[in-house]
């Protein structure tokens, strides 16, 4: 009896997950269908680019700096055990471009902008502003979701570039200035070990993550029901689902790309 209940619960969870994935796929298809249709609302779109991109710049730069620094510190202790300190520059740059940059940037954008997107759209849903858009013959996917999803797709890779650059600077500071590694060796190993495909693939990853986090956040926001509690619930879900999705997709993409 208990086993049957457990199975039923697992089945419900699985069906729920499938439903969520299906709804998100539909949202993506809807975004693509609305993309070429006027009006284009350029100013509104730039507002979203600013919100997701420019306003996340500081927190992304800060995260990049410290992740690069801690990466250099940790790698140094590891490499020192077998006398491989000279590899530090390459190791930091590789980790930043392939992994830490895209993932940390996306997680920070999720925390800052994804949660805000879900909360804003959720509030609009429960205060009938989304219904008001529909009543004015304006589709919420066109007006609300599309500019956010596009902005996520564009701005997360750009933020990743900033994150990686500052992370490498942070690694250089720790490695060269604090730990005394030769600057020439540090730079040489970095140039030797990092190839162009590392950068492209890292940026491709961050595009996928940007798309994912914006889609999940908009989808959750537009699903909000009830009042403040409903908005809180979808905001939490948006952050948790986005973070989990980013990490799972990160593994898949890493296995496929590198």
């Amino acid at each position: 009896m208990m086993f049957a209940r457990l199975l039923a619960r697992l089945g419900d969870l699985f069906l729920g997950l499938l439903r969520e994935l299906g709804e998100m796929a539909m949202l993506l298809v809807n975004c693509l269908l609305w993309l070429p249709r006027p009006p284009y609302r350029i100013r509104h779109f730039f507002g979203q680019l600013e919100f997701i991109g420019v306003r996340s710049l500081f927190i992304v730069a800060l995260t990049g700096l410290f992740s690069g620094m801690v990466l250099a510190l940790q790698a140094y202790y590891g490499f020192r055990k077998f006398g491989g300190e000279s590899l530090l520059g390459g190791a930091v740059a590789l980790s930043m471009t392939r992994e830490i940059g895209p993932v940390l940037t996306s997680l920070m954008v999720t925390a800052r902008a994804g949660s805000a997107m879900a909360a804003e759209l959720g509030t609009m849903r429960v205060t009938e502003q989304v219904d008001a858009l529909l009543a004015m013959a304006v589709h919420p996917v066109h007006y609300l979701a599309l500019p956010r999803v596009l902005s996520g797709l564009i701005m997360v890779p750009l933020l990743t570039v900033v994150d990686v650059f500052i992370g490498i600077l942070g690694g250089y500071f720790v490695g060269v200035m604090l730990l005394g590694i030769n600057p020439g060796t540090y730079m040489q190993k970095m140039v030797e070990m990092v190839v162009a495909s590392d950068l492209y693939n890292g940026l491709f990853k961050s595009m996928v993550f940007g798309l994912l986090l914006a889609l999940i956040s908009c989808h959750q926001g537009l699903k909000a029901r009830g009042g403040a509690q409903g908005v809180g619930l979808v905001t939490t879900r948006a952050v948790v689902y986005s973070a989990v999705a980013i990490l799972i997709v990160d593994y898949m993409l890493t296995a496929l790309l590198f």
């Binding site: 009006p39 804003e120 009938e128 219904d131 529909l134 009543a135 004015m136 013959a137 304006v138």
Partner: protein, 244 residues
């Protein structure tokens, strides 16, 4: 002439029947007030009229065209003929009042900015709310927000106005002001209007026809005078405010 006709409309949410074989007719140029107790599905009914909710069964006919079966794209062009005043205004809170009123015009016309600004000023004057173009919705009182929302609903010069509980939550003076404003606007512009409310005074003062919604059905649809004399016990209980 029938402008809107609902035929045998059924709607349930999670197994809970909200509309249960509902029939209703709205005549062109008249104000129809739908009265009913809270939680009887009045807002659900109103949302059916512009396809925000589609029925599980039945027809929602606008001049003979069934909105329940209309593809989304055509439904969007039908909606431009309606103005909808939401219960709490539902102004877009990221835009100023002026931008809110200009919004449907920017979306659906190719008018120059100066012409849109002119319409915004005119519509705000029409609802006795001049000079608030640059304020945010949160800076206005509930009554003012409702008036601004009415101005937005009127921006595209709709043929049909839908009002969702227009006086709920307002003080008696603002209630009277909104009531007068609705009457002046609808009569002055010769619009057709559907108002849902549980405000009996509003219904008696405003309506050409009162329809009474009870347990998912319209029990009666008649003039305010005959509505007050209705022999139906549900209507009399509602009018007298007697508890169950």
């Amino acid at each position: 002439m029938h402008l809107i006709r609902l035929v045998d409309v059924h709607k349930a949410f999670n197994g809970l029947r909200v509309l249960d074989g509902l029939n209703l007719t709205v005549q062109q140029g008249e104000i129809t007030v739908i009265l009913g107790r809270s939680g009887t599905g009045k807002s659900v009914l109103l949302k059916h009229l512009i396809g925000l909710i589609r029925p599980d069964r039945g027809q929602v006919l606008l001049k003979g065209v069934d909105l329940a079966r209309l593809p989304e794209r055509e439904l969007f062009s039908v909606r431009k003929r309606f103005g909808y005043l939401f219960q709490h205004g539902a102004l877009l809170d990221s835009l100023t009042i002026g931008q809110n009123i200009a919004f449907p015009l920017q979306e659906h016309t190719s008018w120059p900015r100066s012409q849109i600004e002119e319409v915004v000023t005119t519509k705000l004057a029409q609802v006795s709310l001049p000079g608030v173009e640059h304020k945010m919705p949160s800076e206005l009182s509930g009554g003012m927000q409702k008036r601004a929302a009415l101005a937005r609903a009127l921006a595209l010069d709709p043929e049909i106005m839908l009002f969702d509980e227009p006086t709920t939550g307002l003080d008696p003076i603002t209630t009277t002001t909104i009531r007068q404003l609705i009457a002046e606007t609808v009569r002055g512009l010769k619009l057709t209007a559907v108002v849902i409310s549980h405000d009996i005074e509003l219904a008696l003062a405003l309506a050409d026809v009162i329809a009474f919604l009870h347990q998912g059905k319209i029990l009666t649809q008649e003039s305010p005078v005959s509505f007050q004399l209705s022999p139906l016990p549900e209507v009399q209980q509602f009018l007298k405010g007697e508890p169950d």
